[in-house]
Structures are given as C-alpha cells and as structure tokens.
C-alpha cells in the first residue's frame, strides 16, 4: 500500500536534500508557486522543486521521485506556451537552470555540445564570434533553453529555410525515467540503430530529461537582405506568400503582421511600418552576395504583381534591425491593447493561408472578439492572438470557443494543431481531431518504451479529458517580458 502523500513528499525532500544539499531543494509555498506556471494560462503547483547541478544529480533526483511513486517534470526557462512544464499531477519539478555550460564547440566537425539550461541565444552568440551560428531561432531565444527547444522541437522565423530544432540535433544524453543515463544519437549523422534522437526531440519531457545536447552548427550566411512589403488588403499579402513559395524562392524568413499589429507596433516601438496598411510582410533572404539582388528583385515583382503598395528594402543594418525590432516587439506592443491575450499556434498548407485567415476573421466577428495576427507565414504557421479581459467571464468563455473553431479550421484545411509550441496541457484534448485512437495508442507504446511507469511529465500530450475551466486565466501568464516576441 502506498504511504500517505505527505509522507512520500517528506521522504522525497529528505533524499533530495541528501544528494543536492538543502540549498537546491525547495518546498515552501511561495517557492512552489514560483514554479507553478509557464507562459500559457495553465497553473499547478509542484510538491517539491529542485535544481540539480550535474547529470548525476538529475539522475538521483529522478530516482528519488520515482522511488516514492511521484511524477517529475523537467523545466527549462518556463517560456513554453502549452503548459509543458506545469506540474498538473504534482510531484517534483526538476529545474535545469544550473546546467548552463557550453561544453564543447567543434568548428571543424560542425557541432556543439551544451547542457540543457544553456539559453538559445547564448549558444548562437558564442558561435557568431567565429562566423558560425545555431540555426533554430525561436522568438523567445533570449530566454528559452536548448533543453526546452529540444523537448518542444521549437521553430522560429528562420526555420523556413533551415528547418526546425529536430533538423539540428545530432544526439542527446538523457536521464531516463528509471534514473539511468543513456546516450541517443551521436556527434555525427546516421548513428547506428533506430533514430531515437528523432523521436525524443518533440516529446515534451515525457520520455526523460535531456542533460546534454549535441547541436549541429553552420556557417553564418555571407550576406542578408531584408525587405518590407505593405498591402492595402490582407488577402494580397497572403496571396504573395503563396506566390513566393510557389515561384521556387525559399526566403530565410517570411513573416506576416496584420493591421492592428502594425499600428500597435508603430505606437509603442516605431519600426517604420506604414500605419495605414492592412498587412505587411517582413521578408529576408540570405546567402552568397551574388544571389541576393536577384532574389530581392524576384520577390519584389511577385509582391507588386499581387497588389503590394510598396516594397522597401532596408539599405542599412540599422534599418534592418529596426524592421526586425517591430516584429520582435509585436507581442509586447499587443499586450498594451487589452489586459490579456490567448496565443494560438496552428499550421496549414501554404496554399490555404488565405482561407484560414478568413476563417479566423469570421470567428472574431461571430464571437465579438479582437483577433490579431503576427506569424511565420512562409511555413503556413499561424499565430492568432485573441485579445480579452479576464475580468469579463463571458468574453473569456468566447475566447476558448473561438480558439477551438480556429483550430478546427486549421485541421479541416489539411493542417494541424501545433507547428511549434507543442501540445502539452493546452491541446491534448484536441489530439483526437487529428489522430485515431490507434495512432495515439502507438505513440503511447513508444512512450512506454522510455517511461513504462508513466512518471515523466504525466497528463501531457495525450488526451486527459479535462474541461478548459482548469486552465485558469490567473497569475502572470500571457504577458511575457517585453523583450520576448512570438
């Protein structure tokens, strides 16, 4: 018979303190509160929090939790937008902030080995000094960790040309849910056997904890051009995106912002966007200097043919930075329009952008809501932001209904529930919109090969049948620091 919960928690605290020292183990109420949320609307307190300082300590912490039959949840920077690091089932939160060293950078072999708590931008900057880069650039890159990126298979504006996190991870050291340590993949391509790295990336912490990550690194591009195309009609901007892709041009980034975003950005940041535009496209091309002019010209003529009023090419690095500052600051700017927003993440085939944007506008009208759009258009990765006031219960309810309708529209167009933010707690009950019970069962079987007891980040990814009432809109969620952007 399992001893009462309080006993188990007490014993967990004792054994963690024995291994990590009291300094790195937290169980007071306010400490637990600090680890009860991420950037989503979900909230739940862990029983205990610990901050291990080595792989061995992570393994010991996992063993200690599992010995008491308690679940454990890995936590990076807590910028996840799907509730991934929120401990809904209680148990132990294992924070990886102290594992923040870049262990190795090998330029000749084009890889870097990092601990999971290394911040994405820190790695990129370390490489940048030497003319190299780490490609995936989630908009939260100033804060989010590579461990979190691996768990969520994160994307970013430049993933259009270069691929998402999964395409840049060669291997991972993992603490498995039984507390043993193993290595998936290698430092080179085509490691022997099944591609366990491939399935671990994107598993949202449900297969174990990454304690080292082997990242592929690349030479940074020789040249870059950034342009801004503005439109009187959103439709024309969406049509331009499809036309650019269809013409065989794969820009490094192709981002869209709609009218309300543009105006919010101009009011609060001043990036030089035309305030009377219904939409702008921020387009970047990279590569050998010789190819840039041609690419810029082709894109310009495609945009103009689709009704762009103006296409402006940044003629200095300062102007380029300013154009990007608008994009990067969009979320912070929007936060000033209404107390809160609900950020959705859906993907559609690129030829369906226009019809799904229309469906979003229809949902906004039907439910009397303001929905604004700033997103990775080139990938078909939508980010509608539904603005609301949590004090207004009726409006808050309509936000959830509209959100579901938007997700339905994405799925109906041949798309899916999430392009980069993950399923976590937010969308696990929608999983059966895209997968059959058998599909989900097969995924569960793979999970159980890693985690037979189901103690690694339980109740995530797979349907749990909770009401959305549990995703309470309280606390700090939905208002990330101003320096982050979606």
């Amino acid at each position: 018979m399992s001893p009462p919960a309080a006993d188990r928690v007490r014993r967990l605290v004792e054994s963690l303190e024995g291994v990590l020292g009291k300094r790195w183990v937290f169980h007071r109420d306010e400490e637990r509160l600090a680890y009860s949320y991420d950037a989503s609307l979900a909230r739940a307190r862990p029983d205990v929090v610990c901050l291990p300082g080595s792989t061995a300590e992570v393994a010991a912490a996992v063993r200690a939790a599992v010995r008491e039959g308690l679940p454990f949840v890995a936590r990076g920077a807590g910028t996840g937008i799907a509730g991934g690091s929120v401990p809904v089932a209680g148990g132990l939160v294992i924070g990886l902030a102290r594992l923040n060293r870049i262990l190795e950078i090998d330029l000749a072999d084009r890889y870097a080995v990092v601990e999971p708590g290394v911040v994405n931008l820190t790695l990129d900057q370390a490489l940048g000094q030497q003319g190299y880069c780490y490609r995936p650039d989630p908009s939260s890159q100033k804060v989010c960790t590579l461990g979190g990126n691996v768990a969520n298979n994160s994307g970013g504006p430049h993933c259009l040309a270069y691929g998402v996190t999964a395409n840049h991870i060669l291997g991972v050291e993992v603490v498995l849910p039984d507390g043993s340590v193993t290595e998936l993949g290698a430092r080179h391509v085509d490691p022997l056997g099944y591609d366990l790295t491939g399935v671990f990336v994107g598993s949202e912490g449900t297969m174990g904890i990454a304690t080292k990550v082997v990242c592929r690194i690349a030479r940074s591009a020789e040249g870059v051009r950034t342009m801004l195309a503005s439109y009187a009609r959103m439709e024309d901007a969406a049509a331009s995106v499809s036309a650019i892709i269809a013409a065989g041009i794969v820009p490094a980034a192709l981002e869209m912002m709609d009218g309300p975003i543009i105006r919010a950005v101009e009011e609060f940041i001043g990036a030089g966007y035309p305030v009377d535009a219904a939409a702008v496209l921020l387009i970047e091309v990279e590569g050998l200097g010789e190819g840039l002019d041609g690419a810029v010209r082709s894109i310009e003529s495609i945009c103009k043919a689709r009704g762009a009023r103006q296409v402006r090419v940044a003629d200095s690095e300062a102007e380029r930075q300013r154009l990007w500052a608008g994009r990067k600051g969009a979320l912070g700017a929007v936060a000033r329009l209404k107390p809160r927003y609900y950020l959705h993440d859906g993907v559609v085939p690129r030829t369906r952008l226009l019809s799904v944007l229309q469906a979003i506008a229809d949902a906004a009208a039907r439910h009397r809501l303001t929905i604004v759009n700033v997103f990775h258009a080139g990938d078909g990765n939508l980010h509608p932001l539904i603005l609301f006031d949590p004090a207004d219960a009726d409006e808050t309810h309509r936000v959830h209904v509209a959100g579901e309708e938007i997700m339905r529209a994405c799925v109906a167009s041949g798309g899916t529930l999430s392009g980069e933010h993950g399923i976590g707690l937010e969308k696990n009950d929608m999983m059966d919109w895209v997968y059959s019970p058998e599909d989900l069962e097969a995924m569960q079987r793979v999970r159980s090969a890693f985690d037979p007891e189901g103690l690694a980040n339980p109740q995530k990814v797979f349907p749990a049948r909770r009401g959305c009432a549990e995703l309470r809109a309280d606390g700090h969620g939905g208002r990330p620091a101003g320096e982050m952007w979606i």
């Binding site: 080179h188 010789e290 798309g415 999430s418 069962e441």
Partner: protein
C-alpha cells in the same frame, strides 16, 4: 526466398496480413523495389515477402504547398518525373536508385551526398502511415512543413529496415528545381591534398550542393563520362589518369546562376592555390550526365562499407587512405559519410579483417556498416557492428511496436 509473395492492395489489408502472421508466429519481410535486399543481416528463412508494388500512387500533390504524399511503392524515379513536370524535385540522391521505391529508400535510409545541403530522409519526412503487426494502420505527423502535434514516430521507421512495420504512405518536403546546376572536378596527385581543399569548401560560405572525394583504380571508375574521356584531348586525359592515381574532388552547385558561377570561381581558385593538378568544369549535357553518374555509386561491387563520422574524422580517414584498406572510395566531406567499395578480388578473410580493424580504430566515434557483402564475410563479422549504448531502448521500442516480432526479425542492429 519464399515462393509465395504477399501483395496487399491497401494498407489495411497489409495490416491484416501482418496480424495473421503474428498469430501464426510467421515472419514478414517488406519488399519495395528489392534493390537493397543485401542490406542488413540475413532474413529468417521462413519469412514471407510482402510487397508494396500495388501501393504505388501519388496520394496528394499540391505543387504550391511544396509537399507531396505518396504510397510507399512508388518508384523513386517515377516520383521525380512527376515532380519534375511541375518544376520540382525531391532533393535526395540515393545511390542505386534505379528501380528503388520511396518506401524502400526510407527504410534503408539511403540518402546521398546532397544531404548536407538539403537534408536527409529524416529531415524531409513530414508524416507516415504504417501497418503494424497488431493489425492496425497508424499515422504520425502530417503534410504540413512544421508540426509538433504528437511524437514523430515516423522518424523511427526511417532506417529501421522494415523491422517496426510496413511503411505504407509518406508525406515529404519537396523543393523547386534549381535554376542552375554545375559540377567542378579537380584531380590531385595526393588524396590528402584533395581532402584539404574539400574541407575548405565544406567549411566555407559557398553553400555547395555536395562536396565529394572519389578515388578509383580504373579509367573513369565512376562512370563520369568526362568529356575528356570521349574527346581524348591530351591535357584532359590526364584528369582521368589522376583519378586513377590519386583522388578526384567533385564539387556540385545547385541554385541561382550567379551563385553557381561564384562557387565555381572560388573553387577554381582554391584548387589552383593548393596545387591541384587538373581542373574541369562540366556544363550542360555533360553536367547532367556526370551529375547522374555521381549520384549513382557503383554498388555492383563485391562489398560496400559505409562509415558515418564527424566531417573531421571522415576527412582524416580519407587522407589516411582509410588506413590502407584499398578499393574505391566515395567520401561526402560535408556530412562525413564515406563509402568504400571492394571488389570480389578481396577474399572474405581479408575483407572481414579490414572491417574489424577499421571498427576498432574508430571506436565510438563513428558507425561502420557493411551495407553489402558476400555471405562468407557476413558470417565472419556483424554487418552492423557493436551495439550502441541505447540498444536496450531500441529493443524496447521494437517490442512496443512489434510485440509479435513479425517484421523482418533478426535483420537489424543487434539482431533486432
């Protein structure tokens, strides 16, 4: 192999066949174009082949989405033709692609030297439907280019050699055909010199489509059909001779014309500065022919060994002439994949010894797989080599997805 071959008309039927096999304790061996039957450990003698030849259609193709969904039995070249009609292509160049199916190439993880630039199968697969041995057809992923909805189970099937299920359908990322293609060939008296230049190019910002080093022993061993070999111009003959004596560097560019031209120019300068012996740039029809020849490794040879290592380790191996193991060699220095091709003249004892020596020299730093070898060699060495540290997890995955051990039992790493 067995006389009777199964050929399901759809994936549901394939799953039912697998379930029956599971109940009866039989083994099934998925079969595509049978161009790689030689891969892996031998099939169980009683395994019944299950062919994807009736699953050979395009399921969904909207060119402007730059994705395509196909049934696994579609021919690689057939698909490329269909995509080509819309100015698009699947940017992979597996060796020995003639007759191969998409499903078979995925299962074998047969990529090619373009992978460093355009990605390998694992990067291009967006989703899959698979028949499992419990009678279910399951899918993962989808047909959009970015997707974190559920686990990427499809990645497990890439390179699994059909040991987890029958790949029935796959969605793939595709690209517009490049505006221009160029090949530069340069010959070097010493392999080490060739490697040096190759590494400079691979580590540059030139964004080559592929950088390979070829070393052969006969005239035009790679069937490059160099113009020189046809025309017989004396200076250019020397190029062929140099390939024979030393090493040939082949650099490919694909993209906008000015970028290709720049690439060729810079490579020429690098070659000249390094004292490379001869240089040829292939244009137009010669380029197309040579491009195809470069794609197509002559795997007809007696044995093929594939080493995957970091680019630096691969370069070192190549400079050191792969520890004097002889034979022909094709090395992709961008991705770090080296193929060694030995003909039948090398006896099985000798061949097995070479493999063992290479493996013990490389240790954990590389994988060293005997893709193809005569039976007498396979009896002497494990074609896959030592089990990786995560082997217990691999076994657990196999047991989870194929508890009846129906799919290709024994052929994979560690006798999975």
């Amino acid at each position: 192999m067995s006389a009777s071959e199964l050929a399901p008309a759809d994936l549901a039927q394939a799953a039912r066949m697998a379930q029956e096999a599971s109940v009866a304790g039989r083994a099934l061996a998925p079969r595509g174009g049978n161009t790689r039957g030689w891969m892996g450990r031998p099939s169980r003698p009683d395994a019944v082949e299950i062919s994807t030849r009736r699953l050979s259609g395009v399921v969904h193709y909207e060119p402007d989405d730059l994705t395509v969904t196909v049934q696994a039995g579609i021919g690689f070249h057939d698909l490329q033709r269909q995509l080509g009609a819309h100015g698009q292509w699947l940017p992979v160049n597996p060796p020995a692609a003639a007759g191969a199916t998409i499903g078979g190439l995925l299962a074998a993880n047969a990529c090619g030297s373009l992978r460093g630039r355009f990605g390998a199968w694992r990067d291009l697969v967006l989703g899959m439907s698979v028949a499992l041995s419990d009678g279910q057809v399951v899918k993962s992923g989808g047909r959009v280019v970015k997707n974190v909805t559920g686990y990427d189970v499809h990645k497990l099937h890439v390179g699994a050699l059909g040991t987890l299920g029958l790949i029935g359908q796959a969605s793939l990322k595709i690209l517009p055909l490049p505006q221009e293609r160029r090949i530069v060939l340069a010959s070097f008296a010493s392999t080490a010199d060739a490697v040096h230049v190759a590494c400079d190019i691979a580590g540059s910002r030139l964004e080559p489509a592929a950088v390979e080093i070829l070393r052969g022993r006969t005239d035009d061993p790679f069937g490059l059909r160099l113009p020189s070999m046809r025309a017989g111009a004396p200076g250019e003959w020397a190029l062929a001779a140099a390939v024979e004596a030393g090493a040939c560097l082949a650099v490919r560019f694909a993209g906008a014309e000015p970028c290709c031209a720049r690439g060729v120019r810079d490579v020429r300068a690098l070659v000249a500065a390094s004292g490379g012996a001869h240089f040829a740039e292939l244009l137009a029809a010669d380029c197309d022919a040579a491009w195809a020849a470069l794609d197509d490794l002559p795997v007809g040879a007696g044995a093929v060994l594939r080493i995957a290592a970091t680019p630096g380790t691969a370069a070192r191996l190549v400079s050191e002439e792969v520890a004097g193991t002889g034979g022909r060699m094709v090395a992709d220095v961008v991705s770090g994949v080296v193929h060694l091709l030995w003909d039948d003249a090398v006896g099985p004892e000798d061949m097995a010894g070479r493999v063992e020596r290479l493996r013990s020299g490389l240790g954990q730093g590389a994988s060293c797989v005997l893709l193809k070898a005569p039976p007498q060699v396979r009896e002497r060495v494990d074609v896959w080599g030592p089990r990786p540290v995560s082997y217990p997890l691999m076994l657990a995955v196999k047991r989870a997805l194929d508890p009846g051990n129906v799919w290709n039992p024994g052929r994979f790493v560690g006798e999975i």
